[in-house]
Amino acid sequence: MARPAPDTRTQFLCVLGTELRSLWRDRRALFSALVLPMLLYPLLFQGQAWLERASRTRLEQRNVRVGLDLTRAGPELAQRLRERLAEEGPIELVDIDAGPLQALEVEVATGAPAAVERERSAAAAFFDTGLEALLVAITTDTPPFVELRPYRDGAEDLSNEALRRIERARARVHEEFTHRRVQELLELDPAQGLTDLALVDVASAEDQGGAALGRLLPILAVFVLLSGGAAAALAAFAGERESGTLETLLVQPVPARTIAAAKFAAVLLTALVTLVCNGLSVLGTLFFGWGALPGLEAAGGFAVGSGRVLTAALVYLPSVALLSALLCLVCGRARTFREGQHLLLPLLLLALVPTLLATQDDVELDLLTAAIPLGGPALAMRDVLRGDVVLPLLAWMFAANLAWAALAVAQVGRILDGERVFAAASDEHEDAQRRVQSRLALRWGLLGVIAIYLVGSTLQNWSLALGLALTLLALLPLLGLLAARGTARRARARLASVLSLRAPRLAHLAGAVCLAPALVQLTQLVFAWQQTVLPLPSSFGESTMLRELEGVGPVARIALLALAPALGEEFFFRGAILAGLRRDLAPWKCALWQFALFGAAHASIHRFVPTGIVGALLTLVCLRTQSLWPAVLLHASYNSLLVSGLAETHLAHPAWALLALPGAALLLLPGAAARGGASGELRS
């Protein structure tokens, strides 16, 4: 049958058309990914506003009991405060004797955590009598020598409401006194009074609205793009592979790159349409007054012009392309639809990290931040919406991020290589069996991270020292044991072997200790660099665990902050979780997953990268030495250097980093199993 050679452009359009047609006909996926979110935005904004109003109204109508001790404030001030408090809704004023609080003032003024804790306990005794808040006049040694100090129970809504009323009353009294004093000083006629301070905001309504929208839209865009694009990417790659149509497609006289390019185009178009539709829904909700952005509730109407919105969308295009390409890469690697779905959450978290830069007011768009993938466009979108446009910077951001997107798109062209799609000669069932260890290990890892967030943080809020100990020495080991038991059963191996609890070589232990100073300096360098793009909030250093545990003895502090994390975290992450990962994944992939899990477990975007690096390095140490103990020792040494302060003093000199050389050399010596030790486990 003679016919002309197929034309690549026609083939591209043919594949693209078929992808879009298949998507269009999947009404259920279209509805849930595209239509439903659009409908939910008005409900979300309205619902949130209604709930807030209802909650505030309910609280404002409730009676609150406030304990007062204003004997040290002077009769006039005390009288005025009582009068103004009585005007702040249903309130019962109860006279108390705050002598115990006054007695602690000298100690509290030093800022010693133990004294602050005693003050808290003394105040709590008053709350136990049924009071929602306290207002106490405390005499101090420093001007103004009398301080009005409110106390509240922050965990109780009613206590917070009582505090709001106290604050309003106090502000009114302060204003009255200020007015009177100014009149006296200026010798003004009291009958004329002072004009009130009137706030004048030089920002236009459009700038204000744009600033508020700029904090929200980049985050929303990531969610929307990934949810809409995921439907297309999953169907185009993982879904086709699972259904058997991908193999058929790869046997057609179409270059694999053409097929991949057409599928990418389908994902990109779908993501764009989703973004536009959802964006219009959000803007429409705001424009018609069905909801308001945080900080703009009192403003009359939403006033961001279409020009700014279009420009903001335009500067965000590189991120759209990059996210679409990443979706293709992730779904292209997945063997099944379900596996692809599981990979979407980590992708979302990774995409959110740089995007969150746009929510930090003190992070500016500059030459460095503009080049950060996803971060640069997010900052540019924010700046465009609030009216800060620097064209050369925007052009640089666009070019840099387009380069990132092009790099990702180039990789998409390779994912339909038959080698990657059909790498193993064994059947899918065998592959699924082999990879079950790593899949389950990742699930346990995520469970552990969530447990640290929920259970660990609750325990530590209750008691920092005890909570830390329970989290690190009970919660994590228990989860680790449960995870490792499953791995051992499937691998038909001993539990101790699965957890790599075999005795280490002395050389490995020595190498681990040598590596610690260099690791400290490396993470400090990373932390310092990170602050140029992600400055620490001012409160970050004020209440670290070290200060909060000052009341605990030095030995206990080292045990809690150096040894306990080393034991508990290593047992869980490098013992139990790594046991599953290393059965299916190459070492670098194991290290990458440990980077993500360990970084996420420390619950701070500022600590994510430095602790992730530590996690990855500890993984490689464990894999190389085939024993958990060198990683435990390295982790404990690292923590000890930080807790003891030696990292900032005796070991601060860069020369200490050179210890990494002999340390690495020692760690590279063969592990115990490689020297003929019994492994105690069978290959699964």
């Binding site: 049958m1 016919r3 002309p4 050679a5 197929p6 034309d7 026609t10 083939q11 043919c14 594949v15 078929t18 047609r21 298949s22 006909r25 999947d26 259904s243 058997g244 149509t245 193999e247 058929t248 790869l250 046997v251 057609q252 006289p253 179409v254 270059p255 038959g418 080698e419 799609v421 059909f422 790498a423 193993a424 000669a425 064994s426 059947d427 082999r434 059965r583 299916d584 994944l585 190459a586 290959r683 699964s684």
Partner: protein, 257 residues
């Protein structure tokens, strides 16, 4: 010129848990036009990998292969124009109709306009797809899907058909229909290379049989030739004898016919 020719085909790949695995260890094959050649072997023997290399889905680690004289490594796209591929795991696009499926793959092969429409209509008639040609493939029965898959594989009238365990998962009737289709290709002058681990299929259909085990072709020939060389009557016993000989410490290299 042979319709299919393979010399020293090798396929190795790296597995994170098993290291380097050689799925195919040097396979020689020759298949003629109008011949039905069966590749017979157990699961994991290397049948699918061999067929995927011939179908240009996988690149050989070593060796050469040609489809109607076209090198599959040097000119994969041209080779794909000359072959039709169908496997037991081949699927259809659930939300396309059979007609749309055939039109789609026809366009990918360079068919267009009235020629495409005519060819699609012809296949719908030949394979009896008329009653469900415009419904979605997800609503079709197994047998109906199989017919659509076969029509798709022969849409561009290729001189070579490669079928990878085509009767896997099919019921008796569907399996019988597939066997009849394969037989019909002989009369059309098409070279059919198909893999199977079902001995009865090989006995009934194949002009020649290649026995494959552990990535190697142990022997090739008609059933009569294999029976004579192994001293066995039934194909099952022939297979076992060839495997036994291959596992001897000083086994000779496999014969090629």
């Amino acid at each position: 010129m042979n319709a299919i020719e393979a010399r020293g085909l090798v396929k190795s790949y790296a597995d994170p848990s098993r290291g380097v695995v050689q799925a195919v260890r040097g396979i020689d094959l020759e298949c003629r036009a109008g011949e039905i050649f069966g590749l017979l072997g157990p699961n994991g023997a290397g049948k699918t990998t061999t067929l995927r290399m011939l179908a240009t889905i996988l690149a050989p680690s070593a060796g050469t292969a040609r489809i109607a004289g076209v090198d599959v490594v040097a000119e994969p796209l041209r080779a794909r124009q000359l072959l039709g591929f169908l496997s037991g795991t081949t699927g259809l696009y659930p939300r396309l109709s059979p007609r749309e499926t055939l039109e789609y793959f026809g366009k990918l092969h360079g068919l267009a306009g009235t020629a495409l429409q005519a060819r699609v209509a012809e296949l719908i008639e030949v394979f009896g797809l008329g009653s469900y040609a415009d419904g979605r493939c997800e609503a079709l029965s197994t047998g109906q899907r199989q017919k659509v898959s076969i029509a798709r594989a022969v849409l561009h009238d290729p001189p070579v058909l490669i079928l990878d365990e085509p009767t896997t998962g099919l019921d008796v009737l569907a399996s019988s229909a597939m066997i009849e289709f394969i037989e019909s290709r002989r009369a059309a002058g098409t070279c059919v290379l198909f893999s199977t681990h079902v001995l009865s299929e090989a006995e009934r259909l194949c002009d020649r049989i290649g026995v494959i085990f552990a990535g190697r072709v142990l022997d090739v020939g008609t059933k009569a030739e294999l029976a004579e060389r192994t001293g066995q009557r039934w194909l099952e016993d022939i297979f076992k004898e060839l495997v036994r000989r291959a596992e001897l410490p000083d086994a000779a290299s496999p014969a090629t016919r």
